[in-house]
């Protein structure tokens, strides 16, 4: 049975990121969703899930999540090497770099990848993103206090259009990090199919026709040269 582990859904639940899990469940009704709460040992600590998902969280809880995961850093590295799929979205990406620099304090992160985060809680960036993943286009939004610095390796999404001249995320084997927020899989049915293929499953998704309508309309809107790249700071 396909096992999808969702890390800390009670904390990592901002921007409707958890709708990604709802959509996975709709696409894979036979899959077992394992919700791991912050006080529990992760399922992946002793077993091998097919997919681990973690979404956006309040910046104030990032330290808690990092310290919860720190004892499992080597295990995560091993799972990456074993091609276990991870999908990490929004500012959950901050957890896996070297450190989070908040000016007056520096929070050591898991150190699995070379980048670090500069975080300014007085400077929020909201903007659109259109990118490329293999042969498909990705649409999404960012809303973040974090800037990713020193990102090396293969980006998850190559930028086609965005307010910051920067690719998004990172992919190492089947470990996928993206700073895009919200229901990424719902908004990108073609990426959902790619994920299913990566998991060795048929590329059959729920509500495909409706999802494609939404995707194609958003892609057309975002690719319009007159579309605003930046949605303003603090949501203005």
């Amino acid at each position: 049975m396909m096992v999808i582990e969702v890390l800390f859904p009670e904390i990592c639940c901002l921007y409707s990121d958890q709708v990604n899990v709802e959509y996975l469940q709709q696409c894979l009704p036979e899959a077992k969703i394992v919700n791991t709460h912050i006080y529990e040992e992760p399922y992946f600590a002793k077993k091998k899930p097919d997919l681990v998902y973690m979404g956006s969280m309040p910046e104030s809880r990032q330290g808690t999540v990092i310290e919860k995961l720190r004892p499992y850093t080597e295990r995560i590295q091993k799972l990456i090497e074993q091609n276990v799929s991870f999908l990490i979205t929004g500012n959950a990406m901050d957890v896996f770099g070297q450190f989070i620099d908040r000016g007056k304090e520096r929070i050591p992160a898991l150190g699995l990848f070379d980048y670090h985060i500069y975080q300014d809680m007085d400077d929020r960036h909201n903007y659109i993103f259109v990118g490329e993943y293999e042969d498909i286009k990705i649409v999404g939004y960012k809303s973040t206090f974090s800037q990713v610095i020193g990102l090396k390796g293969e980006p998850l999404f190559k930028m086609i259009k965005g307010a910051e001249n920067q690719d998004d995320g990172l992919k190492e084997n089947n470990f996928m990090l993206s700073s895009l927020i919200g229901p990424l899989l719902v908004m990108n049915p073609l990426f959902m199919k790619k994920l299913l293929k990566q998991l060795g499953l048929p590329e059959e998704i729920a509500f495909e026709e409706e999802a494609m309508l939404s995707y194609e309309y958003r892609l057309k809107q975002l690719m319009n040269p007159e579309a605003h790249l930046s949605l303003g700071s603090h949501g203005v």
Binding site: V186, F207, E210, Y217
Partner: protein, 86 residues
């Protein structure tokens, strides 16, 4: 945005109107609302055209904060439609 509260057998039709109608349709489907109950239109002002009044006791016009004018038009057109039926 929650759509679960609209997933009830006594709600027979859901018309989603406006620029983001396809996104809301996906949200409604994910909440379990049957596909056949859902109608979408990009023009929010046209929503009234799709209202089916047979075997219906109440029609609700739910709007966002920026749709005062169009929702008023929709409301007035539904009232006209009701008067024609009566």
């Amino acid at each position: 945005m929650d759509y679960e509260f609209l997933n009830k057998p006594n709600i027979t039709q859901l018309i989603i109107a406006g620029d983001r109608c396809y996104d809301h349709q996906m949200r409604a489907l994910l909440s379990g609302i049957p596909r056949e109950k859902i109608t979408t239109t990009m023009k929010n002002i046209d929503a009234w055209k799709y209202v089916r009044l047979d075997n219906v006791d109440k029609v609700f016009v739910l709007k966002n904060n920026f749709a005062d004018h169009s929702s008023r038009v929709v409301f007035d057109e539904i009232v006209k439609k009701l008067q024609e039926v009566a």
